[in-house]
């Protein structure tokens, strides 16, 4: 079981997606049950990764390796460490929510919808577990296809523009990554990611490779100024698409920095860390202000996502400055970045589901449509306010933990960096709570709001599960941190060891 667990996690959803396609739209209910039961099985199996995980080592676990394209020494090589394992569980978890969330809402081609999400789940798990660069690239690019179709088929009015923009943006970002990988293969003779970690590169080579990878990951995270696809994609995507996009696809970018940029090009990362820190701060502060003025709820959450993801890149690169003062500070920053990714996975998923609940009822994402929703939907408002608080970084929610760790880490780097980053806590509170005020409180402007039905059992379930996740991680983040500790420490040492051939 251990030897094939990762393969199962990848291929079960993909083949299950095909099965769902075959069941077809005519038998939509059976298709939905196939999808739901598969996603549940995959989630339960993925918990095996957690229970069977060895916290004490940074080495890859659950490794599978067999030759794939022997002519170019490309292997089907899978494995997880403390960085990728939590992200895989996040993926399997979110997929269940998305499938339940789309249960009644998706009337147009429901079986295809479910199939797309299942296939995407498998492909993204592939991204997080691939240890061969080409295998990684194949999963990375292939995961664009279901998302393209999800936005394009089930999206809003401007879906065509948004889906093609999303696709081309990510595609142009990643082709240079491919060339870097090929370049490193030509030096080292291996596409293995771990072999690339050990590859000795000159500063010039590292700089080129760094920027090539940076482009790919920065588009995905997304970082200022290549973030413009995200608001379009989010606004047009159906609720499920937004959830997966925010909760998981953005993490693929962050994960890329952990897996490729820092260990492969440590010297270039150090050299360019100032630039990345500045860009991250711009994302955190400027995009925070942009979020403040949005009238569309989904757009507001999309910008807030960009701003929160800024913390991830800040934590990653501020550590180069922090380590001069304190090794622990640097470690804290890195771990904070990782915790922030997971926590953002829960919170952004929850926020988009909250908007989805409202959108399903009134078919409007405009803040001004609503007002006084609490009068007709008290239970729902309870959840919404909790998630809004978490989004604003309230202590005892998961949103606080990651951001606080990053800020503490950044404090070791530079007082002003951490101060600027901390302003987000205020900004985040401002735009989130202001939205809550306008949507949920105040007088009812709109007659339709009066007759809203409160959330049903299905919606209560998904929001409840997410609420639990947000609170548990906020109160007791220790298990998550423990799992990643050895891997992050190893990564930090890799990033601090110069690769320049003497």
């Amino acid at each position: 079981m251990e030897q094939v667990l990762l393969s199962l996690l990848i291929w079960m959803p993909i083949l299950g997606g095909f099965a769902t396609l075959i069941v077809g739209n005519q038998r939509a209910l059976s298709a939905k049950w196939v999808a739901l039961s598969l996603s549940l099985i995959v989630f339960i199996l993925s918990l095996g990764l957690y229970t069977g995980f060895d916290n004490t080592t940074h080495l890859m676990q659950f490794v599978e390796k067999s030759s794939w394209i022997s002519q170019f020494n490309i292997n089907y090589h899978l494995g997880v460490d403390g960085i990728s394992m939590p992200l895989i569980i996040l993926t399997t978890f979110s997929t269940i929510l998305v499938i339940i969330a789309g249960w009644e809402v998706i009337q147009n081609r429901p079986a295809h919808y479910m199939a797309a999400f299942l296939m995407m789940e498998g492909l993204i798990i592939g991204v997080f577990s691939a240890l061969d660069a080409i295998l990684y690239y194949v999963f990375w690019e292939a995961s664009l296809i279901p998302m393209l179709l999800i936005i394009g088929i089930w999206g809003g009015d401007n879906r065509i523009y948004a889906s093609i923009k999303f696709f081309l943006y990510t595609f142009i970002g990643s082709v240079f990554m491919l060339i870097s990988m090929i370049y490193m293969y030509n030096i080292g003779g291996s596409f293995g990611i771990l072999d690339m970690h050990a590859l000795s590169l000159t500063m010039t080579e590292q700089s080129w490779i760094f920027w090539a990878f940076f482009l790919a990951f920065a588009v995905k995270v997304p970082m200022f100024p290549v973030h413009t696809w995200l608001p379009d994609a989010h606004v047009q995507a159906p609720t499920g698409g937004s959830v997966i996009l925010a909760a998981i696809m953005l993490k693929m970018g962050g994960y890329g920095f952990f897996r490729f940029s820092l260990p492969i090009t440590p010297d270039a990362s150090l050299n360019f860390s100032d630039i990345v820190i500045v860009i991250s701060l711009i994302a955190i502060v400027y995009i925070g202000f942009v979020a403040l003025v949005q009238r569309d709820m989904k757009k507001l959450i999309a910008y807030s996502s960009i701003s929160h993801m800024g913390f991830v890149t800040l934590g990653l690169f501020a550590m180069f400055l922090a380590v001069k003062n304190s090794y622990e500070g640097a470690l804290l920053g890195l771990e904070g970045a990782m915790v922030q990714m997971i926590s953002h996975g829960f919170i952004s998923a929850a926020m988009f589901l909250v908007v989805g609940v409202l959108y399903d009822r009134l078919h409007s994402r405009e803040i001004s449509t609503y007002g006084g929703v609490i009068n007709s939907m008290p239970k729902f408002t309870g959840f919404a306010v909790l998630f809004a608080m978490a989004n604003a970084g309230l202590p005892a929610t998961s949103g606080f933990v990651g951001e606080f760790m990053v800020i503490l880490g950044a404090m070791q780097a530079n007082f002003w960096i951490s101060t600027l980053a901390a302003t987000t806590l205020i900004l985040g509170a401002a735009y989130t709570l202001w939205m809550v005020k306008r949507v949920f409180w105040g007088p009812i402007h709109n007659d339709a709001v009066k007759s809203l039905n409160d959330i049903n059992a299905r919606e209560f379930f998904i929001l409840g599960v997410l609420a639990l996740a947000v609170i548990i991680m906020g109160v007791y983040p220790q298990p998550v941190i423990e799992v990643m500790h050895s891997s992050i420490e190893h990564l930090l040492n890799q990033a601090l060891t110069s690769k320049l051939a003497i």
Binding site: W68, I69, S70, Q71, F72, H112, I134, Y137, V138, E141, A142, L144, I145, L148, L149, G152, I153, R159, I160, S163, I164, F167, L168, F171, I172, V175, F176, L178, I179, I182, Y183, Y185, N186
Partner: protein
Amino acid sequence: MSNTAQNLFQFDTSTLVFALPEIFLLSSIVVILLIDVFLKKSFKNITYYLSQIAIFITALLSYNLIGNGEQIIFSGSFIHDDLAAIFKVAMMVASIVVLVYSRTYLNIHNLFKGEYFVLVLLAILGMMVMVSGYSLLTLYLGLEILSLSLYTLIAIARSRANAVEAGLKYFVLGAIASGLLLYGMSMIYGINGSLNIAEIAQFASGASLESSQQLILNFGLVFIVIGVAFKLGAVPFHNWVPDVYQGSPTSVTMFLSSVPKIAAVAMLIRLLIEGLGSLQDYWSDLFIALAILSIGVGSLVALMQSNIKRMLAYSTISHIGFILLGFATGTMTGYGSAVFYVFTYVLMSIAAFGVIILLNKKGFESEFISDFKGLGRRSPWFALMMLIVMLSMAGIPPFIGFYSKFFILQQVVNSGFIELAIIAVIFAVISAYYYLQIIKSMYFDESDNTSPVSSPMDTQLVLSINAVLILAVGLFPNYWMNIALSVF
């Protein structure tokens, strides 16, 4: 020297076995032509089936010859080796699939005639001669058999002005290109006194070449490269491609865009790698220029097309650019990658035209990207097939098109041309836009037309296998790559 010369002129009937596929096909053509004359119009199906059987048996005969090593027969003018046999099998399989897809189309548009199939068979024969040609004369002969059959095939829809124009255009430009090729061959023949590829190779790699001889050799080389580039449709010798693709009946376009590319690549290998391999430095530079221009023009101009046949024409041009890039690297793996690319390109191109042909109805010629509107609803299965083909052509993994591009890029970077690789991938991203347009039409656009696409079982089956192969070979590209590498 005298000893080999004697051997060359000996005629040993046992060597005929290596030309058995060609001999069989030629006899079949004669027989089918005769039978067809006596068939009533309602029995024309028999011609179709006979042709398919003839191609199939030819494929089997070629397949049986794989692994017999290198055999040069007919006084050094004809070669049998694994390259020839594998290429022939690939061409036969592709031709069978093309004919399966064509049948409905030909019926709908009243083109179902005996001549059509005989001409296709003749074109195939020409290509087989090209693949096995080992002297300049045989190569040229094969090329002309192919070209003359194609000119006629294109113009077979006499009532269509477009088709006649396309046929004439191809004829005039093709004749010029043949002339240039022949001119180059005459220079090479003039300087070394032999038409045989092996002797040309020996001469060209000789250390004792005078600079004037070298000059003439280079001149000949340039003309030969031009001739090959024309047949492949590389920029700047591409002007015939869009017009011919658009004007020809779609079934002919499908044939034209796929099988002859294999033959042209074989001719390229015979002439430039086996014959003038010692001048690789010279023709590599030419190829790089042709490749980058082709990739660039192919990607950019395709963006503006609304006619899908024209769009695919430009897409072919950009694929040809990648193939040339593979040859330009000058490494064995590079050549193998280019051959791999040709095979995968043919697989994708046939599937793309197969879906276009499906959309044809009595009195309706499907030509525009907008004809794909709503296909995702009308026929989800075929839409999925087209989705796979388009993503594969755009080079998105896990489909086969990604690996063919990836192998080429790998070799390009390996040869130190990183900037070429960067240019190529940028254009690959640009070209993704127009492939996405088809996907957009099929899935994202709404259409009033909700009637499902109907087609005979055999077409459906073959098309499904074709598209699934694009995915399956993509999951396990190593097997095909081994075949492609084994021809060198």
